[in-house]
Amino acid sequence: MSTLAPTDEPRAVGDTRRAGRWVFITATVMLMAWVLVPIYLLFVNTLSSPSEVSGFPKTGLPSFDFASVEFFLSFSGVARALWNSVVVAVLTMVLSIGIGAPAGYALSRFDFPGKEVFRMVVVMTRAFPLPLLALPLAVMFIRVGLDDTALGLAFVHTVLALPFAVLITFSLFSGIPIELEEAAWTLGCNRLQAFIKVVMPLILPGLVASAVFAFTISWNEVFAAAVLTIENRTLTAFLVQSLNVSPLHLKFAGGTALVVPALIFIFAVRKYLFAMWGIANR
């Protein structure tokens, strides 16, 4: 908390002000280092040869030896796990937007009995430890033949992503004045045409961002993935299940494989971070 007080512009002149400024800058830089250095160290390990990874002491500089990465990529099961992760994440993305966006639209555009109840249920889902759903669903999936499938896991990940999809699309739609739709109706559109010609083009960037967000939620999820997949393991499931048997350089390359796409996604949707988390969590 010591960083807080000096962050306000001090009213005292001269030294105090300059000192405050320095504390502020130092705090900012240190916090940035706290976030960035660990990621950098992971990358250093990934870009070092296997012997360097288990060597000691380390220099903290990468040797740009790609042996670890090659080892990881050619390791049995990795390519498949990567592919499975992508499939599950894409399915999650499609399901959560496909199911969530209509609900978000309904919440934003209509007043109807039951609206608040639905909103409450959606908000409430976050008060539950959702990965636990995987336990009973494992049984149910065996019964209906969804066990160990990408679709089955995508259903669980969609439960995780759906509340966000609903609340985010709700706020996206609420940002489009209803008059734009009404104007389209008076100009000859039916509801669907007005939606496609007017609303869609306007919310598309936000919709893509929330889709990417759903993708990331699925991409990162560990527990349900580990419970529900055996043969068709995702990357997280693969890594968590082979942690105690795999060599260090495999773990670090795997960690990087998890981190890099997530970093790219976060960067791609950075403009929407607040719409995603800030508003969705009100």
Binding site: L180, E182, W185, T186, V198
Partner: protein, 346 residues
């Protein structure tokens, strides 16, 4: 032919009754203004005619066709919204062409109509721009052009000028009047601005509390308010009202004056006069000037008559100071009387 007939239209939102059984006929190519304070139901009525709101009961007929069960696109209407609702992802050209494309008109016809209406609204040089690059006034023009390009039977306008600044509003008002006079459309225009209503309308419907209080020409509304509400709502400053006690048949005592009035059975009425219908002379109301506001051409004097505020608009040549005692004579042909029970004109 696009005569609009509204039969016993009512609308309630939950327990709130927004409209009470409205009956109204708007003649073909007439310019009708719905005037009232916010919350009086005027916008709800307009939206019911547009098809954006479903009436709780009643019928809406446009051009001999019952339309209250039809969606907006099948009613032959076009609408100008208060916030313009210019599509931000389309150019001005595409905005104006939007409805024409929905009608699947040939490109040639679309070009022709867009160019013509753009010219009419003086926005031909803006056709390639997006709404974000336009000023409020320009957006307003696009919204009107978009509606006109549809060549609708009925053009509906919901406070279209209220977001413009005063000068622009004056300019657009005159332009709108000219443009709509030349179009073949019947127009319904919602506003809370009485000056706008007066200057634009063929007829004005004054609304209050979800009911139509008076439906008449602007001059009639001003001169012969059908109800006390209209007199106090229209005109700036509004009408003066003084309690009148019956002396004899057709003789009323008003603030110390004996006046001839209606032969009404009630023991008391309300005497009403507009502030500009007062002159200074002998044998009028004894009024003490309290506040004097020179307005240029005229001077607004707020006086006290019978212990109540009473306004007079006087020639600015007259020198009046607070505290002066004036005698104000009402012009006999401009005196109106209202029943204090029914609040209607007598």
């Amino acid at each position: 032919m696009a005569e609009i007939i509204i039969k016993q239209v009512a609308k309630s939102f939950g327990t709130f009754q927004a409209l009470h059984s409205i009956d109204m006929t708007i003649r073909d190519r007439e310019f009708m203004v719905l005037l009232g304070a916010s919350g009086c139901g005027k916008t709800t009525l307009l939206r019911i005619i547009a098809g954006l709101e479903t009436p709780s009961q009643g019928e809406v007929w446009i051009g001999g066709r019952r339309v209250d069960h039809l969606p907006p696109r099948e009613r032959g209407i076009a609408m100008v919204f208060q916030n313009y609702a210019v599509f931000p992802h389309l150019t001005v050209f595409e905005n104006i062409a939007f409805g024409l494309r929905m009608k699947k008109l040939p490109q040639q016809e679309i070009d022709k109509r867009v160019n013509r209406t753009a010219e009419l609204m003086h926005i031909e040089q803006l056709l390639k721009r997006y709404s974000g690059q336009l000023s409020g006034g320009q957006r307003q023009r696009v919204a009107v052009a978009r509606a006109l390009a549809m060549e609708p039977d009925v053009i509906l306008m919901d406070e279209p000028l209220s977001n413009l600044d005063a000068l622009l509003r004056l300019e657009m008002r005159a332009e709108l009047k000219g443009v709509l006079a030349e179009s073949k459309s019947t127009a319904i225009y919602v506003t809370h601005d009485q000056v706008e209503a007066m200057s634009l309308a063929d007829r004005i419907s004054v609304m209050n509390g979800g009911k139509i209080v008076q439906n008449a020409s602007p001059v009639e509304i001003y001169r012969d308010p059908a109800a006390r509400f209209v007199g106090s709502f229209i005109g700036n400053p509004p009408m003066n009202f003084i309690k009148a006690n019956r002396q004899d048949i057709g003789r009323w005592r008003v603030a110390g004056l004996d006046l001839y009035g209606p032969s009404h059975g009630a023991s008391s009425l309300e005497f009403a006069i507009r502030p500009e219908d007062l002159t200074i002379g002998e044998g009028g109301f004894i009024a003490t000037a309290r506040v004097v506001e020179p307005l240029g051409a005229h001077t607004l004097v707020t006086c006290e008559v019978d212990g109540k505020p009473f306004r007079a608009v006087l020639d600015s040549d007259l020198k009046v100071a607070p505290g002066d005692v004036l005698t104000l004579i009402p012009k006999p042909d401009r005196i109106r009387w209202f029943d204090p029970e029914t609040l209607l004109a007598v």
